[in-house]
């Protein structure tokens, strides 16, 4: 049974053409799916629909066979920018999703500290976000999304503003963290290599529709050597052709 199931989902802002048109997409438990496309093709809207931040104007979205619950800590969401609260310490920022519903238990604090340690940030947990670099802030945002142990993680171009090397490190961190608890991931990006490196399956979106669907059969765990392998490059070329509208 699929985990997240979108059936004939459309979304329209009043008085404008459809932003998302009759999209069908299924994500299985523990899978990592990427959604690529040019700016303005409706990727972010589709992700917000999957998160329950927006309601589809047509079609339906189910999670585990049940209608999508209103947004809450059961889903992890990482935005384009880290959006940390600059008046809270790094640790408090990570604990924010939990502290909205209750005072975090010592177990939960330990979990947050463990997440930060996995991200190589344990030394900075008492610092304020402005002391951190852009890459470190993105790491904190990921830790915040994972602290509630969500079954599903949704990410909206979280690494777009980072330099290439930091981005690669974060991609590896993200893969490792998601494997740890078999988190299901839906990741939006416009970076072809990023999509191929991270995903089990890539959806290509254009003008509100999913045009192509690419299986990525690369072995896991993936490491740096894969980024330069011929199979990787072939997949990137295939994805690029698909984005240009050619045959996948």
């Amino acid at each position: 049974m699929s985990f997240l199931d979108m059936e004939q989902v459309s979304f329209t802002y009043p008085g404008r053409p459809d932003v998302v048109q009759r999209v069908d997409w299924r994500i299985g438990q523990g899978q990592f799916h990427c959604l690529v496309g040019r700016s303005g093709c409706g990727k972010t809207t589709l992700l917000k629909l999957a998160a329950g931040l927006l309601q589809p104007s047509e079609g339906r979205i189910t999670l585990h066979g049940a209608p999508l619950a209103p947004p809450g800590p059961q889903l992890g969401f990482v935005f384009q920018s880290p959006t940390l609260l600059e008046w809270r310490t790094v640790l408090d920022n990570v604990l924010l999703p939990l502290s909205l519903s209750h005072k975090p238990t010592s177990q939960e604090v330990a979990r947050a500290q463990q997440l930060l340690a996995l991200m190589g940030l344990s030394a900075g947990e008492r610092h304020y976000p402005r002391h951190l670099s852009g890459g470190q802030q993105s790491r904190v945002a990921i830790a915040r999304a994972l602290v509630g142990e969500p079954a599903m993680l949704l990410l909206d171009e979280p690494f777009a503003a980072l330099d290439a090397i930091t981005r690669e490190e974060l991609q590896d961190d993200l893969l490792a963290l998601c494997r740890l608890r078999q988190t299901t991931v839906f990741f939006v990006t416009h970076d072809i290599a990023e999509a191929v490196y991270l995903a089990d399956r890539v959806a290509v979106m254009d003008c509100g529709r999913i045009r192509h669907d690419l299986q990525v059969e690369l072995p896991r765990p993936r490491g740096r050597q894969i980024r330069y392998s011929p199979a990787f490059n072939a997949l990137c070329a295939q994805l690029r052709a698909a984005m240009d509208g050619g045959a996948p």
Binding site: F79, S81, T83, W87, R88, P97, S101
Partner: protein, 259 residues
């Protein structure tokens, strides 16, 4: 130039100004009624402080100021939050808010004396009214202009409206709110002193009017000096509060400016 030298320069300028004033007042043989030399002002100040003559007046002004400031800021904060939260309320009340903003609040002082009588109540009401607006305006703006991405984050986390207000909007608007407080503190002193001009028998403002009646200009200057010191103290308090509450988000540049 190091910070120490700059501070020394500022004090040296003050000393030079006072000396020049003293020299001019003596050289031109100005009557103490028009411009008393600083030495005469200092003597009046010392005399008043030593004899305890100033004490009840200072106490009265400080009391009115604190009461007015507290009431005005509390009301300003509360209305700012209400208006910032509710766009409908804002649309309804904004024209009135703007209109009441441009009414010179001090011009209402005589009316308050009719309503509340001579004495402390009128002065406290004027002070509160004058503090109310900067705080309300800044709170409203700060709360209504929270970053849309952060609001989306809180929506994603399933936060209630109350949580979003307390944990996002007010902290995010805090720099603006505190800037409003800094303005309110200075205006509060104006409100208290002018209130006493018109309706007070005690307080530093009333003392200025009394010294005018007694043609005791050195006393007037001495009281002015006291008011200035009071204002400086309040302002420093507001700055210290700001520094403390915003410590975590100040950049190095802002820290340098605040020094």
């Amino acid at each position: 130039m190091s910070a120490g030298w700059r501070r020394f320069g500022a004090w040296a300028l003050l000393a030079a100004g006072l000396l020049g004033w003293e020299f001019l007042a003596r050289a031109m043989k100005l009557s103490a009624l028009v411009l008393p030399p600083p030495s005469a002002v200092l003597a009046a100040l010392w005399q008043g402080l030593r004899s305890g003559y100033f004490l009840p007046h200072i106490g009265q002004t400080v009391l009115e100021l604190l009461l007015g400031l507290t009431a005005g800021c509390a009301l300003g904060l509360a209305s700012g939050v209400l208006l910032g939260e509710s766009a409908a309320l804002r649309r309804l009340l904004m024209p009135y808010v703007v209109t009441s903003q441009v009414v010179p609040k001090l011009a209402l002082a005589p009316l308050f004396i009719v309503w509340f009588g001579f004495g402390m109540t009128s002065t406290v009401v004027i002070t509160a009214l004058i503090c109310f607006f900067p705080l309300m305006e800044n709170t409203m703006t700060g709360i209504a202009q929270v970053d849309a991405r952060r609001l989306e984050l809180f929506r994603m986390l399933g936060a209630t409206r109350w949580q979003t207000l307390l944990r996002l909007k007010i902290p995010a608007g805090l720099p603006g709110i505190l800037a409003g407080f800094r303005v309110a503190v200075v205006l509060a002193l104006v409100g208290a002193v002018v209130g006493e001009f018109i309706g007070g028998s005690q307080g530093l403002g009333a003392l200025i009017i009394a010294s005018q009646g007694m043609m005791d200009t050195p006393l007037m200057f001495a009281v002015l000096a006291l008011i200035t010191l009071l204002g400086l103290g309040l302002y420093q308090f507001a700055v210290a509060l700001e520094k403390r509450l915003l410590k975590s988000r100040m950049t190095t540049l802002q820290k340098e400016i605040k020094k």
